[in-house]
Amino acid sequence: MTIIERPSLTPVVAGSGVSVGVKPSQAYGSLRRPVSSTGWRSWVFTVDHKKLGIMYGAVAMFFFLVGGVEALLIRAQLAGPNGTVLSAGLYNEMFTMHATTMVFLFVMPMAAGFANYLVPLQIGARDVAFPRMNAFGFWCFLFGGIFLNTSWVLGGAADGGWFMYQPNANALFSPSHGIDFWGLGLQITGIASLTGALNLIVTILNMRAPGMKLMKMPIFTWMILVVQFLLVFAIPVITVALFLLMFQRAFGATFFDVGAGADPLLWQHLFWIFGHPEVYILVLPSFGIVSEVLPVFSRKPLFGYRFVVFSGAAIGFTGWGVWAHHMFASGLGPVSVAVFSMSTMLIAIPTGVKIVNWTLTLWGGKLWFTTAMMFAIGLIVEFTIGGLSGVTHAVAPSDTQQTDTYYIVAHFHYVIFGGAVLGIFSGFYYWWPKIFGKRLSEKIGKWNFWVTIIGMNLTFGPMHIIGLQGQPRRMMNWTEARAGEGFFNLGFWNRVSSSGAFILACGVGLFLINVIVTTRKAEKAPLDPWDARSLEWMTSSPPKEHNFDSIPVVHSLDEFFHRKYEENHETGELTKVATAEEVLADLEAHADAHIHMPSPSYWPIVLALALPIMGYGIIFSRILIVVGGLLVLLSMFAWTLEPSVADDTDYDPPGDPRADDGGPTKELATHV
């Protein structure tokens, strides 16, 4: 039996003289420190990495649907020649926001959600290093995303493309407030990414379970570590760029004013120094996911763990030296172009290593085709196609034919949808029983997989042809005159692509149906449904608030697997020595006596709320800047003065009828 520390039950005794019991719910009313473990308050003020992870996932999923609708509108417009579904202005807003939403509000936060939920579990920690900062990051992301999307109703969304090239994004050429919203919104979500990155790096480096050396860390945690380092160094660069943009648009600075002698390429450099690492920020978490999924369902360890780790780090490192390949047509001069062309080819090598390692992980295995596994294999296939088309535009002269055509659109959708998104779906199916205690329906899952795969290849496959035959990107319409002749002309492929988009939407819809069906009817999943290998499966599903009753001591990579199986070193034969339930029971038997968990807090959400207020202030009225600024000061100081664990005085005494929100008698964990 574990005793979870909680505040004493004696009422506060005031000073000397007459003692009067003061209950916080009386003294502070709704301003008391939130301590509830149930109800909506337990979510809104939570600092628990698991709740935050789930919220990250849910909100990111919502934005995925938003971005998906935007994509469908784009494809509807392009289904036929001279499309009239959207006006030119709206079309420009649509593709700008589609990319922005998918990159900043779906893939990045979804990866953050997985990382938040799983990293502490995978390294045997009870929470992240800075739980309140974690909550703050989530709210920044949510409010930043909402702020960004309110531009739709406040004068029009950003219309400069997600790369926001200058001077086209200057106030003269884009007079609506859309780009102001875009810049400030990304600034706010950037804070989320930066705080999240600091938090996760410290967590991973500092809070590993005893015995877990860096080279014994689960590969997903490794990839997340690399991504967070990329974020820590990439976010400040885009921050600078966004500040320059804001100063230019809101305060009349001249950074991109060509008439004053400015060089528009400055923006491109700043943007892509951030933007290229960003590509790896999007895709590496999914690489981590499939690197977890493939071994589990092949029943053998990841082939060349060290190589996968080092290639991940190498991709992260080399990713800084290739940004100008987005600018081969910008006029950098042949020397720069040659250098960046070579460095871009270099980065194909570690990427290739990963593909090879995944394939060799499957080789000789005992493959179990669950939906998670199928999505993972889908990722290898689709990403390979995307990677190879990437090699063709690492060749700079070839790229000058391909850049800004649909061929590029095809390439990065194979990389980002085929890489990042399929990995995310694989992760959903793999970890759903861990997170929610129920397994997603495999039957619907298979449908989900096949419809998604067919839809994606129909949508993005034809774009290779469309692009190579000369259709540029970001065009609100195409014409028959430039579409060529024959049955398979560009019009045909555009129609195929548009219908593929709707099939793809059905695939995503099937996932949502699966979630609903599973939530409503599925029975509780077994403790270890996949015969998994890493620490996150060594606790109950869903995990307790404090994750582990006792922190496991790690002896090897795939610690959980090795506690279940014993390997005969001569024959290599495996013998099952324990069930998951037995492993868990063993941990519970040695439960820690005192576990402190950080208490919920108001201040992360208040501080995050202050930022969009300041954002609206910059756009509409200076007085809101002051209000938001005061709120920032207030919440930061309140945060500083607030201890991470609630005082005794924050809880109501037991048996108080007014202890409506959990009271002090709540158990943080209940088990025998």
């Binding site: 506060v12 000073g15 009067v20 003294a27 002698g261 000061l633 100081f637 003065l641």
Partner: protein, 384 residues
């Protein structure tokens, strides 16, 4: 006699009357429609509130029931000391002064009043939390400290920094580093003295600090009002034909930059070499004496001086009619711009926009790039 509430309203009423009087006197009776209605309205309303409060005894239990008056919780202890009425009065004063002087003061008054209302509210509310004063105090602090600390710090910091910068702007340019250094040295020395003389009482040290702070702020205020030292805008050479047509050094030339950050893909590079001016354009073979530049586009021209004399490059941008008509004929204006003096080996950038085509030039006029004193070789610019 008077209840607490009615005292407040009575004070406010008198202030409003005073404001009305002061305003009337300073504006010689003509205080405008809004001020009249506003202030007279305020007097009437506040007087009414005074009466009501007095009549209902601040909404407390009737004084006709003396037992309750003494037994009520509020009556058990005298209310704690509070600074807010005082500050509230200051705020009111600011509003009154602001109403008749400057809007800034008025706004400051409003902010102070709002702050007082908030503080007072929380204070009153915390006093009702329990019967234990210390606990109530902690309740109040927990809520208000996060707000008070940063705001006080921010305001204090701003006032100090602003005052100090005014002092710096008051003293001469040569004196400013001295003042600056002296202040820093005093701070540092003060710190050292205090650190290594444990005998000094805290109160004395605090007193010294307060006096120093007040001194700084008041000096700053005096100097801000007294005005800054005269700062003349630097002379710049832009578009000044008297400067551009000669190689006489001006103040702007004295310390001009000679290097520009890498500027590739410029529209033209103009070189003065051996007393001869020549142009080079990307991808156009040979040394040119005529260059084509786009109309209305931005052209970045790099000027390189290989000769020993310090010279400038002057762009003659044409003579055109203006909208002003004198004696039935439009007057003309000549547009000219130039670089600062460029020493041997130096480079300068000239960013030009030709809004009109060469076709629009008057006969005999031409777009040119020239170096004053080197009339023999001039670069002609064609704008299609």
């Amino acid at each position: 006699m008077f209840t607490t509430g009615s005292k407040l309203f009575l004070g406010a009423t008198s202030l409003a009357v005073a404001a009305l009087v002061v305003m009337g006197v300073t504006n010689a009776g003509d205080i405008g429609w809004t001020a009249t209605v506003g202030l007279i309205g305020a007097v009437v309303a506040l007087a009414f509130l005074t009466g009501i409060n007095f009549f209902v005894r601040d909404g407390n239990v009737s004084s006709a029931d003396p037992a309750n008056v003494f037994d009520a919780a509020a009556a058990q202890r005298p209310p704690g000391r509070s600074i807010w009425p005082l500050i509230g009065a200051v705020g009111l004063g600011l509003i009154v002064v602001g109403a008749i002087s400057t809007p800034v003061v008025f706004k400051a008054g409003v902010v102070v009043i709002l702050a007082v209302m908030l503080e007072w509210l929380v204070h009153a509310w915390s006093e009702g939390a329990s019967s234990d004063a210390a606990y109530n105090q902690s309740v109040r602090q927990r809520l208000m400290h996060p707000l008070e600390f940063p705001v006080l710090a921010a305001v204090g910091l701003t006032v100090m920094i602003y005052s100090f910068s005014r002092i710096m702007l008051f003293v001469s340019k040569a004196g400013s580093p001295v003042v600056f250094g002296v202040l820093a040295a005093v701070i540092l020395l003060g710190g050292v003295l205090y650190a290594y003389s444990p005998g000094v009482k805290k109160s004395i040290a605090a007193g010294v600090c307060v006096i120093a702070g007040l001194g700084l702020v008041s000096t700053g205020a005096v100097m801000a009002i007294d005005g800054q030292r005269a700062t003349e805008p630097h002379e710049i050479i832009a578009n000044d034909s008297s400067i551009c047509t000669s190689n006489e050094p001006t103040e702007a030339d004295a310390r001009a930059s000679q290097e520009l950050a890498a500027k590739s893909n410029s529209a033209a590079i103009i070189t003065l070499h051996g007393g001869k001016l020549s142009a080079h354009q990307i991808a156009v073979p040979g040394e040119l004496s005529t260059i084509t530049l786009p109309r209305s586009g931005v052209s970045n021209i790099v000027f390189v001086n290989d000769d020993s004399a310090k010279v400038r490059l002057t762009a003659h941008m044409g003579t055109f009619d203006t909208a002003t008509i004198v004696n039935g004929k439009p007057t003309t204006a000549t547009s000219i711009t130039c670089t600062t003096l460029v020493r041997q080996g130096g480079r300068q950038l000239l960013t030009l926009i030709y809004p009109k085509s060469s076709r629009a030039l008057k006969s005999g006029d031409a777009y040119t790039l020239a170096v004053p004193g080197v009339e023999s070789s001039v670069i002609t610019v064609v704008v299609p």
